[in-house]
Symmetry: D2
Subunit: 379 residues, 4 copies
């Protein structure tokens, strides 16, 4: 076993459970230069936090994240809380010299994201690493897609088609949560789901969005909350057109109202030599079309489970599928490898900022009759 | 056999071949009140027109469409020529008291389409019928989709997702044709492919688009033409966001550059009770999700080949697929049935005009930085 | 238009309707050396035969097939009747010097099939052609599969997996027809559906089955018939293992009780270099796996609608699907081309006999505790 | 955390890695009455076993499984070694009063399996539990399939179609391993893959196979082994027909030569009211056809990721897929739950014996010209 690094994780619900699994499992499958120790779990309620620590295997708990950040046995801070807390925790952790893994979207505003990206850059100078948790980059099929684009297998990109469809809000009696409050979540489907497809599209194409035209909608404006009702203050769905710096055209849609689509994060890319298509509901598959195949051409359903596919060598023989949480284990492996190797991991906080700028432009355009809105400094 | 009606068809290339097949076949499968006689084929070149008449089974030829329209043995004029000629031929035919089937898009401009819709309405008063050839309404799966929406099976519509993807222009050496000249075709992928998905979306939802935000692109601006090159003066691709009068959100894309997608006209609709999905590349299938199915819910792949599915009773036993040209045979059956029954068929020229207005709004928005553009009088 | 050949067709129900369509349409799409004339339709009941002739476009009728065969205006006899009549009609027609297209299975017994194959061979010496109507060979995807195997694209064949699944008898109240009477149909699902997959497997692999082990079942032994009930005297389902002369292993299944499978004729072939998969319910697609594709390998879903795919050039642009009856139009084109060219078409009556021998071996094995049963002279 | 139970696992390669993961993870997701402690790892080579123990998190090692079985800190023995060792280890462990989880196939011969089933039954009287590791029963989609059959949703079963297709031996230069030696593995694809589909078919239908007709093949009879070559002494592929006690017909195929199929364990069941279809390569999906759906019937692609689907509640929100190793975590949860609850888990050693008898009958039939072979006492 390699040298240990103490992890302090803030938040212990959905992402907390998945990240815990990743920290417990990563060194069992990947040769990582640092072995994570589940040192401290941060929460607010002492009882619930203690219970979660027991369940997920954390050695200690803190009910104030500042205490967690300050601890000597914590070398890496993992932020699994709602977006309104990301900036504050991340800035404090970086300042304290802790490596930071921060859930997406990076922040609730561009201003926060800018501050975080600047702090991350400064910290990198001190050898302190940071990464934003766009886990879909770690789906082997998406990593393979990136590789194929990089190798020129689809030529120059002309079209990007990205949707992220869920349906859990389709029922109007589904209750209020922090995800529907602007002050907590920043935005709705846009920041939650849209952030993923913006990052994935930029990652796979290796290109940046330069401008958008958008509209958003809130289908159900008030939801059950305790004994009464509360106003939904975020979008339920966001749709937008986009341009990439290459000139490629994009269409994007994020919604929580697409009945029957449970987690359908789809990406389609058409280039001058070939095309790619992916749907997370079949996450172990990548469809690839190559014009070179001539009259025997057709979309190839690549089962991305071969040992030479990204990340797959660590797991099972071909055809033995991976699941959702594997993407987080891959994320942990990449982050530990970067920390151990003394290099900056991707996606960086700057990548997170780039996504944030697109989200902001979407909201701006939606508020201005969909007028084309340029992304301020897309780099 | 029922009473005959003489058909005069102008244009004898792609659509000419398909329509000929429909007129030859319709009464062999459907109980139509009028039996079509392939009376006159209209073209410009006498030799090529004569050859086509022989090949497709037409009794006579005319090289001036005005002569064709004027003939006594022609009771129905079928317009299979490029868009720049639709208005002129249709207006003349209606004036001459001939029923008119006109290929889509109805016209090259809203003004033309308005004139045609007005003339059609006036002619209807005289018992003269007209129809625009949005054949995709006659795909059994799409007709079934409409039926399910009408019956309330998916509830109120929240999302429409429509793309029409082809790839035949992806190769820059593919030569110039009339389809890439604005004066002939009106627009490019927009009018050619976009018109179909606008009509299909409006048909299936039973609703109209009220506004759009759009952008268009011409990827290859000049193409081989004879010994030299010619400028492409239409869009290669068009993408737009849309609102329906119900408030539903739509995204649309039409392109001839989606490598590997040959004729992928896809429509997805999400409602408050269920969802629908269709792809013309699997045209005999409709996917339907019903929230009522509870924990055994999932998209049902309905093979739309049962005797009680729209149009299918006329054909083969279940599982014996239909193809592209069947949609035109269904179109012919519906038109003859309407003529024989003395009722107005759908889609009417007014329906064609509604599509035209959306196309015009798309171009307008694209020319104004994608600013939201209302459809002038969507009815 | 080329020289005419008068067609006399016996039987005017399901196959009669499809074949009529083929004879009416073939020269509209294919450059055939002979143009079919729908000369005489044969049936038993004068009224129903006359009605069918009007509906399908036949010039004359006969109520005795012997009279039809004897007519001077008939140069080609097309047999669309149940299996018990095939031998008698075909032998008479060949003797009379008429080209013969005979529906499958070739006959109800090996003895009949042997007589027919012998007669066909003798007639060929006189320039009289014969063909058995295994129309699935004319599905473009299956013809492409054959081509790929022939080119060595999948290497040597190791596995064949073929099923033909329907469900129309699943309901026990579905009434009796000739298809469930041994004296009419010869066998049940075996001869009706099994014959197709045996022929298709032998065609695509270019190899012959040498032995089988089988079992059959009749799930519903009595069915409504008029006022009473009648005994089902054929199999409802047949399953068998097979060996090809190459050593390849095969599994076969034919059933009318696979609920939800409407016409699922599937063929999968695995070779030393690649694999093929086909399902008639997606008849415009062929899935091809090529080990040469390395780490980007995957089953390619080839949409078999390109101009250079078998038969497709005669039809529409890519992505514009073909349907069931196209296979019969292709069959007619191939037969006319062979007649015009003075060559023997395939599948020959000998090919039909080869299938018949496999069917007979299946029944023999099923009657002998599934003991392996060699095919008598598989050539 | 609940009371601990010390696990001693023998074997630390493929299954060893997966089982280790299950023992480490099960209590993090499931409320199990016993918390597994990774007490002792058994292997033969001290260095490799120690390394594996470190990698997978085991507290101690033993290089003689007898020592492992004898240890006081081991309450549960998990057998992850080749089939030739299963009986000996299991019998010793049961005798020592240890609960036993044994990998499949239960044994290499019926005689061994009988001894094991008898010992398991005897041990159960003493409160010692045993289970055979047919993990595919723990795929949520397969567990759901069983539930639907049990509820009568597909009626009486008429057809079962099961294949397990892999391709890793397709390349003749792939080297020799114990899996190709009869004395180690018992049989080849038959016991390795066939065992799974026999168990799954019996599990899902709730019925037993009563007889089979079979044939087997070894395509590549000699393989690279060290510096030379070694003989392959097992089957490469096995195909067989089967009958269930209900009268249902089955076809089965197991092969390691189906190029392009990586882990395609497929099961299709047709009943009198509906049908089911499953393919492990899309393991999160179950296709269900219900005749009750009338004209809107079609195979429903159920994404088996809802909280009320079997096992899924322990994991992620809908649409967040599970992978291969989850089935082992479910297996561990079920076993611990049975042990804690003092009840016998399924599949029992007797279930393993039932599978073994089918495998033996397959080999017997294959050796006797495929003659139908009854399963000795299928209960
Ligand atoms: N990468 C991905 O695919 C996903 C990312 N996320 C992101 O992860 C983050 C967390 O989301 P979920 O885990 O789904 O939410 P959740 O609601 O399941 O959990 C949030 C956790 O944060 C804790 N928390 C909230 N405020 C806190 C505070 N001030 N101090 C300490 N703890 C606090 C809560 O007690 C809870 O444990 C969000 O940024 C979200 O956008 C969420 C789901 C998927
Ligand atoms: N419903 C559908 O899915 C489709 C509709 N169309 C529409 O059908 C129309 C025709 O398109 P295609 O057949 O594909 O084009 P095409 O280029 O294959 O054929 C056009 C025909 O019109 C003839 N023509 C052109 N100008 C003429 C004139 N002034 N007088 C007489 N004949 C003239 C040409 O000689 C040629 O025969 C267009 O409006 C097009 O948008 C086209 C393809 C598919
Ligand atoms: N290639 C293919 O995919 C298919 C082939 N077939 C084959 O085609 C043949 C006919 O089947 P279907 O058309 O489906 O049956 P059907 O029951 O629909 O039609 C049979 C026709 O034969 C006529 N007929 C019966 N006995 C006759 C006699 N002695 N003289 C004159 N006419 C007689 C009947 O009146 C009826 O018109 C069979 O051999 C069948 O196996 C059937 C369906 C599909
Ligand atoms: N449930 C499932 O899906 C699967 C089950 N299996 C079964 O699991 C068992 C093991 O297979 P794999 O792990 O794939 O094989 P493997 O070859 O990967 O591992 C076998 C392990 O057993 C050890 N071993 C062999 N003989 C031993 C002995 N006498 N004493 C102690 N250790 C010994 C080896 O050192 C090695 O660690 C087999 O029975 C196999 O059929 C295998 C793969 C999948």
């Amino acid at each position: 076993m390699t040298e240990e690094i103490g992890v302090g994780m803030v938040g212990h619900a959905f992402m907390g459970a998945v990240h815990s699994h990743a920290w417990r499992s990563v060194h069992r499958f990947f040769d990582v230069p640092l072995t994570p120790r589940l040192a401290v779990l941060g929460g607010r309620d002492p009882v619930r936090t203690k219970d979660a620590a027991t369940k997920y295997g954390w050695a200690a708990v803190e009910t104030d994240w500042r205490a967690l950040v300050a601890r000597d046995d914590v070398g890496l801070v993992d932020i699994c809380t709602p977006g309104d807390t990301h900036a504050e925790i991340a800035l404090a952790a970086l300042a304290a010299g802790k490596h930071v893994l921060c859930e997406k979207p990076l922040a609730n505003t561009v201003a926060e994201a800018e501050a975080m990206a600047a702090a991350a850059e400064e910290a990198a100078g001190r050898g302190v690493r940071s990464m934003v948790a766009f886990n879909y980059r770690r789906v082997p099929a998406i990593a393979l897609a990136r590789k194929l684009v990089e190798e020129g297998r689809i030529g120059e990109v002309r079209h990007v088609r990205a949707v992220y469809l869920q349906d859990w809000l389709s029922d109007p009696s589904s209750p209020m949560t922090w995800r529907m409050r602007k002050e907590k979540a920043g935005s709705g489907a846009l920041g939650d789901l849209g952030a993923h497809i913006v990052d994935a599209a930029q990652f796979v194409t290796g290109d940046l969005i330069t401008g958008v035209s958008a509209t958003t909608e809130t289908f159900v404006r008030s939801r059950p909350d305790g004994d009464g009702f509360a106003d939904v203050t975020v979008d339920d769905a966001a749709v937008f057109l986009a341009r990439f710096s290459s000139g490629a055209l994009g269409t994007f849609e994020a919604t929580r109202y697409a009945l029957g689509r449970k987690n359908s994060m789809r990406l389609e890319v058409n280039g001058t030599r070939g095309s790619l298509a992916f749907d997370f509901e079949s996450m172990n598959e990548l469809s690839v079309f190559s014009a070179d195949d001539g009259s025997a051409a057709g979309f190839r359903r690549i089962l991305v489970t071969e040992a030479d596919h990204p990340y797959v060598g660590a797991w099972w023989p071909p055809g033995h599928l991976l699941g959702y949480e594997h993407t987080f284990t891959h994320e942990a492996a990449d982050f530990l490898t970067a920390i151990g190797g003394g290099v900056d991991p991707a996606p960086s906080f700057t990548d997170g900022l780039r996504v944030q700028r697109v989200l902001a432009a979407v909201e701006e355009s939606a508020g201005q009759q969909s007028t084309w809105t340029m992304i301020g400094d897309p780099r």
